[in-house]
Amino acid sequence: MPQTPLNAEHDRLGASFTDFGGWDMPVRYTSDLAEHQAVRESAGLFDISHMAEIFVRGATSPAFLDYALVGLASAIPDGKAKYSMIVDVHGNIIDDLIVYRLEYDSFLIIANAGNRSAVVDALKERVATFGFTDIFDSSDEFALLAIQGPKATAILQTLTDSDLSELPYYSIGNGKVSGVESYLCRTGYTGEEGFEVLFRAESAVEVFNALIKAGAQPCGLASRDTLRLEAGMPLYGHELDLETNPYEANLGRAVKLDRDKDFVGKDALKAISEKPVTKILVGLVGEGKRAARADYLIYATAEATESIGKITSGALSPTLGYPVAMAYVSPEHSAVGSLVSVDIRGTRLEMKVVKLPFYKRAS
């Protein structure tokens, strides 16, 4: 199983490991609740080097990405980032991505580890008609660390001469972190403020330990999952997959249909956007301590026997103390305030549709 350059460090820190997207990743070091809390209250450090880094460079790269993705990469200002998706011809989601525009003709795409080859293959296939653009899958050459939490920026600032206050949310800059040339991305997947730091893999141990020494607590993927769930952020394989289109996932805002030029999935997405969806992603909350978990079925009432939806992610929210879940339900049960009944291993739990996210940091 592939490992990140930090595998031995995780082991040394006492981590338990899990298979995530085909990678051997730290699920927790000591306590997933403590790690979750560290991110909400202080600063947590995640090794996300399993994620794919794909560079797209060349004179036609803006036009090419406009064709290959659902959003308009050509409209992203230099140094800024945009959430986007790559869909198939039917409009179903191959992956969700962050697209960073490094320069006019140079982009960095971060894709999910498990979708690396699907994304790279699709990009390479779609680039065929565009000259002067090259696609580089540089995933193996880079380490990616996320430092997240209210103290993340201050901690990272102690290790770099770059003025982090000059990098607004969803932007990217260059700088040295602990002496190592890095991309500094003000993005994240926890609902907290923070950075994702990308640099050559051979410096991974050095930068990782420097950030820990500066005060960031190493955090595993268990806490990353509860953090992103509270923040209402989708996870590919749960909320997103090849049987789901962006409108069902409430991600229609990332799809730019209103343009003359074609893009892969345009015709399908246009048709989908003009019809009512058959399922829609919602947030659910319940009382008590029992979590509704992925794949549990949802019913209109406690007595109903025909399911109207399915949980995609769920946990007892560590921050809020009650069960939260994301789920696909049929549209007639999706209005905020609607009550539904979830089958939790034979026991029904009443849950209420709420607006996402469940948790929003005080700004």
Partner: protein, 124 residues
């Protein structure tokens, strides 16, 4: 945390302390570690009958749900109310204050010795 010598074990990672005709039952440190932080336990009430290797309770962590298998036939005499209100005790003291139920048993099946259980979990 090493597995105490004075306990018996099951392949479902429960430990059993036999005192007269009452067995105190919990989950092992190995199981607690695998589950992660325990946030909810659902235990059978006193008076509930238990059947060997039938599910009689649930232990939930943030990430997953573990099932509690009854290691013997009998009747629950007490469920640990302290653990219900402070489920994290299962992680902090799995072999002590984190015990789950006491069962008055009617027959004692063959359970694993500490050496057998250590072999199962790959501990020395």
């Amino acid at each position: 945390m090493s597995n105490p010598e004075n306990l018996k074990y099951t392949k479902e990672h429960e430990w059993v302390l036999i005192e007269g005709d009452v067995a105190t039952i919990g989950i092992t440190a190995y199981a607690a570690e695998k589950l992660g932080d325990v946030v909810f336990v659902d235990l059978p009430k006193a008076g509930t009958s238990t059947t060997y290797m039938k599910i009689c309770g649930e232990i939930e962590s943030t990430k997953s749900v573990g099932e509690l298998y009854a290691p013997l036939d009998g009747e629950v005499v007490e469920a640990n109310a302290a653990v219900v209100s402070a489920p994290e005790t299962v992680n902090s003291d799995p072999f002590g204050a984190g015990w789950l139920i006491k069962v008055r048993f009617t027959n004692l099946p063959e359970l694993l010795t500490v050496a057998e259980y250590n072999a199962l979990t790959g501990e020395a």
